[in-house]
């Protein structure tokens, strides 16, 4: 069975918690463990936080999240239409941040760690899209 949702909201920090809770509720339709749900919440929180902090650091704009699953594959796409990333390779290095003021540069590292697949697309002054995949293994009944 395939199912999907699409959310759009202003890229402000107050929506970070809403986004991870909403996607966790959607993912909970699958036969999913609490550990897997926590993984998804961390990954979504990091992705949306990056939209707010980096994508829209001096301007406002919306964040769009599309989540879908088919069988045991959950895909989450988080997109902003902000500044974009000039150097994607550098951005993916652990500890890299363009805003060193108490940012740890761990957002993408966490997304990669907590999800099974991570793809990053970005264009300067167009926006950034993160595609994350989590495979939910089938559970044995009982």
């Amino acid at each position: 069975m395939k199912n999907w949702i699409k959310l759009e909201f202003p890229g402000t920090s107050i929506n970070v918690g809403f986004a991870r809770a909403a996607i966790a509720h959607f993912a909970a339709q699958l036969d999913i463990t609490l550990d897997e749900l926590e993984d998804i919440k961390v990954a979504v929180s990091e992705a949306v936080s990056n939209c707010v902090v980096h994508g829209y650091r001096e301007k406002s704009g919306n964040v769009v999240i599309e989540a879908s699953y088919e069988d045991s594959r959950l895909e989450i796409i988080v997109e902003d239409f902000g500044h974009g990333i000039p150097d994607i390779d550098a951005a993916q290095e652990t500890g890299f941040t363009t805003l060193p003021e108490e940012r740890m540069g761990l957002g993408l590292t966490f997304m990669r760690e907590y999800m099974d697949k991570l793809l990053l697309f970005s264009e300067v002054e167009v926006g950034t899209k993160v595609v994350m995949v989590k495979n939910i293994p089938p559970r044995q009944a009982g």
Binding site: V16, A21, V42, S45, E46, S49, E102, M104, G107
Partner: protein, 142 residues
């Protein structure tokens, strides 16, 4: 001496000092915390989610408490009721760790659940902090 002070209060939980601060933020998810000064330890008890939206209040309160209490060397974070943390929350904790490190102090986590521990481990925080099971144990190490 710290333990004697703690036990003399005859409380089951950390006593509130005049430096206690409470904060809650409505919207998205909430973080609540109290901050107490016990001898040379600043003890922060946290409840809820610490993310991009909720961490500024926590950062401000910790920074203020550390500035006011120059005798404080150690930071004790009771995270038994902390349900979520991401890299934004970790950044605030790391920043305050640097403050207490400069005073020759320690960072101690009390009762971190497996999800919180995993985030802390992934960030490398486990290499700089102690993990204990009770506030009393934390004060013994402080």
């Amino acid at each position: 001496m710290l333990l004697a002070f703690f036990r003399s209060k005859q409380v089951k939980w950390l006593p509130r000092s005049k430096f206690s601060l409470n904060c809650s933020k409505i919207g998205g998810r909430t973080v609540r915390f109290s901050i107490d000064v016990i001898g040379q330890a600043l003890v922060a008890t946290m409840d809820g989610d610490l993310d991009l939206h909720t961490c500024p209040q926590f950062k401000e309160a910790l920074t203020e408490a550390l500035a006011k209490n120059t005798q404080v060397k150690h930071l004790v974070l009771d995270v038994r009721n902390l349900s979520f943390i991401d890299s934004s929350g970790l950044g605030v904790i790391l920043g305050r760790y640097r403050d207490v490190q400069a005073r020759g102090g320690k960072l101690i986590f009390v009762k971190a659940n497996p999800h919180i521990k995993r985030v802390l481990r992934l960030s490398g925080m486990h290499r700089i902090a102690d993990f204990v099971d009770s506030p009393t144990e934390a004060l013994e190490r402080a």
